[in-house]
């Protein structure tokens, strides 16, 4: 990884001395003086607080929404809301045809089945641009994919297939980071052989009769790949999180989870019955404050100490493209004696010089992370998840995890796909294909992000993350962008409210090692055209480091004790 010449190191604001001062986190590298503090207001040359913890520059930025764009976005939503009320009125008085589900005439006096207002957004906003999602594909989703063409004559309430297939669409939406989503090659041949030998279904759980020798081989391989003592694999990535967190923590424990954690982590945390406190996204001051308060005040009302404190973070956050500040989290964890659960769903295989994920990217010791969780869905082209850690932990999980007791284990051809792809990444199959893929991905990421920034788009996230969110903001542009890109043979994923905050709708590109430079250049040319057409180039090249991001100090949460 070459560093950008002339780029400044970790951009973080200068903090006053009475803020967060703790022996292990701060170091002697802080250069705070009146002159620098005054000059910092004028220029963006910020001094890092914890620089010695990072062995490489950590460039992350989230440019602020321009005020005019925010105002126009609200006006857009306002107009859509007014039109929504108008259309609802017309539908109610039968002037306009009603396409959605309604109750039967005979049941009008019963308690209503549907709450009409809750579907307001779905009926009036989502339906209009529904053709950008759930597009059926009919080939393997590699670097290029075939999409079935469909038309709608009643404004997206129903679709008809024309019978054409749009061929060779450049695929910028699949989580295919290392390019293993293929139907030819060594992985496919190995999986086909195992399919003949073992069949497809396992038909049992791990604890009964579903523990194949392939699973044991896979687990040894995963443990050696991550650098931990032992590992355990599960059939579904979502279920790995939601079924194992309840086995690890329970009532009387505290979970500190990041604001933007994935639904599986949130569900696992809620199912466990522990108390959940949320800290601001990637904000170490917020996390430290919560840790301090937890240890000083203990449990609410009884003031007893917490049984366990577990910090839940992800390696790469797939909606923002940001990377967790792992060195600082580990320093905090050691100081306050908490446990760390790291979910590397998107970062395993995609980050780091040898592809071992975010721990490798920062050059840290995998023993510092208590529970390393990840999925095989993204970089390995398979399905399922794993948890790695100390041998006692994994032995405990083998008996107590809900997945191990009730869920079916991984299917043998899938296991073989993971084994082959993992060996390829580690270089154990005798070729340098793995190393080339990792390097190709890193180069693609750097190139793509640099070109998009130079064109003037607002891009969120870290310089090295293969997830690239491009900000669209206005609701009409969400639909327009998706459709225009498909017309130009590029498939993208767009997201809007309420999946993102109201003014931050975006298009999300996922880069892959399978994308060649020509494909990226074609894509960039088309994005440039569409950007000019839709006036998407909002950037004023003034990025705000995450800690300065204007978040409300006084945000309120649901309290549910």
């Amino acid at each position: 990884m070459r560093t950008e010449p002339g780029g400044c190191c970790c951009r973080r604001p200068v903090r006053a001395k009475d803020c967060v001062a703790n022996g292990e986190v701060r170091n002697g590298y802080v250069r705070i003086s009146a002159a620098t503090a005054a000059a910092a207001a004028g220029q963006i040359h910020h001094v890092t607080q914890n620089g010695a913890l990072y062995k490489r520059p950590f460039n992350e930025g989230f440019e602020e929404t321009p005020m005019l764009v925010a105002v126009l976005t609200y006006v857009g939503y306002g107009v859509l809301t007014l039109f929504g009320y108008l259309r609802d009125f017309l539908r109610h008085w039968r002037i306009e045809k009603c396409h959605h589900a309604t109750e039967r005439e005979e049941q009008k006096d019963f308690v209503s089945l549907y709450q009409d207002f809750e579907n307001f957004y779905t009926r009036n906003l989502y339906m209009r641009i529904r053709d950008n999602w759930n597009r059926p594909i009919c080939s393997v989703p590699g670097a290029r994919v075939d999409i079935m063409e469909r038309q709608s004559h009643d404004y997206n309430w129903s679709f008809k297939y024309t019978g054409n297939v749009i061929k060779d669409v450049i695929n910028m939406g699949s989580y295919n980071y290392l390019g293993f989503a293929r139907n030819t090659g060594p992985c496919q041949e190995a999986a086909a052989k195992v399919l003949e030998e073992y069949g497809v279904g396992v038909c049992s759980t791990r604890q009964e009769i579903g523990n194949l020798d392939k699973h044991e081989e896979l687990e040894k391989l995963v443990a050696s790949f991550l650098g931990v003592e032992a590992a355990m694999t599960y059939g579904m990535g979502f279920a790995t999180n939601s079924m194992n967190i309840p086995a690890l923590v329970s009532k009387g424990c505290l979970i500190l989870s990041d604001e933007l954690n994935h639904a599986s982590l949130v569900l696992g945390a809620r199912l466990s019955g522990a108390t959940i406190r949320v800290f601001k996204h990637n904000n170490m001051q917020s996390l430290e404050k919560l840790l301090k308060d937890a240890i000083v005040y203990g449990q609410p009302r009884t003031r007893r100490p917490w049984k366990k404190i577990l910090i839940l973070v992800e390696g790469i956050y797939s909606m923002e493209g940001s990377i967790v500040r792992l060195p600082e989290v580990i320093a905090l964890k050691k100081k306050y004696k908490a446990y760390l659960y790291l979910d590397e769903a998107h970062s395993i295989g995609a980050l780091g010089p040898t592809g071992r994920g975010v721990v490798d990217y920062f050059g840290l010791d995998p023993e510092d992370v208590d529970i390393m969780m990840g999925t095989f869905t993204k970089s390995f082209g398979a399905s399922g998840g794993y948890i790695g850690g100390k041998k006692e932990l994994i032995d405990y999980l083998r008996t107590h995890s809900h997945s191990a007791v009730y869920a079916t284990s991984l299917s043998p051809p899938v296991v073989e796909q993971i084994i082959t792809s993992m060996k390829c990444i580690m270089g154990q199959d005798g070729t340098t294909l793995g190393k080339e893929c990792i390097q190709q991905l890193a180069e693609n990421v750097r190139y793509f992000r640099r070109r998009l920034k130079n064109m003037g788009f607002i891009i969120y996230g870290n310089e090295d993350s293969p997830v690239v969110p491009l900000m669209l903001y206005m609701p009409a542009k969400i639909g327009a962008f998706g459709r225009e890109m498909l017309k130009r043979n590029i498939g993208v994923v767009v997201v809007g409210f309420p999946a993102t905050p109201i003014i931050e709708s975006r298009a999300r590109f996922c880069l892959s090692a399978a994308h060649t430079k020509e494909m990226l250049d074609t894509a960039l040319k088309e994005i440039d055209e569409v950007g000019d057409l839709l006036h998407l180039k909002y950037s004023r090249h003034r990025s705000v480091p995450l800690l300065d991001r204007p978040f409300d100090e006084t945000t309120y949460e649901e309290t549910e004790d």
């Binding site: 105002v71 639904a263 309120y556």
Partner: protein
């Protein structure tokens, strides 16, 4: 639970009024409404009246959320005003939206030269919008208005 969503915020309706630019959009909207109405003689009272009518409908009258939330409808019987910031009183958004009709009221009274009829109408409009926002009336339904 929060399926397909990028954050762990259960009800996005609570944070909408705090977002960047919302207050400015609101102020601009009221200003635009006034300019459009300036052609009619009773402009200020009309602005005040229409603004308060709109505010009454959207904040303390409409209940629930326009999208499905993963908290199984805890907010279905709550008005948008009650949902703001999860029911915490005296936050900055609540203060802003309480003060803005008062400012409009002052301006309307001044520009109509304290004429009795206008005064009566303006005061009635102001009270209809201010009273539902008071913290003592959080969750209260008088005369059965807006119940269920």
């Amino acid at each position: 639970v929060n399926v397909g969503v990028a954050h762990s915020e259960v009800n996005p309706n609570t944070r909408v009024m705090n977002s960047r630019g919302m207050w400015m959009t609101y102020a601009l909207g009221v200003g635009l409404l006034h300019i459009v109405l300036l052609s009619i003689p009773v402009a200020w009272t009309l602005t005040n009246g229409i603004h308060n009518l709109g505010m009454y409908v959207f904040l303390p009258a409409v209940k629930g959320t326009p999208f499905e939330t993963p908290d199984q409808g805890k907010a279905r019987l709550l008005t948008h005003w009650a949902q703001l910031d999860y029911g915490v009183q005296f936050t900055s958004s609540r203060k802003f939206f309480t003060i803005s009709p008062i400012i409009l009221y002052f301006l309307a009274s001044f520009y109509t030269k304290y004429d009795p009829t206008h005064f009566f109408l303006n005061t009635a409009a102001l009270l209809s919008v201010l009273i539902p926002k008071m913290p003592q009336l959080h969750g209260v339904r008088i005369f059965g208005i807006n119940k269920c």
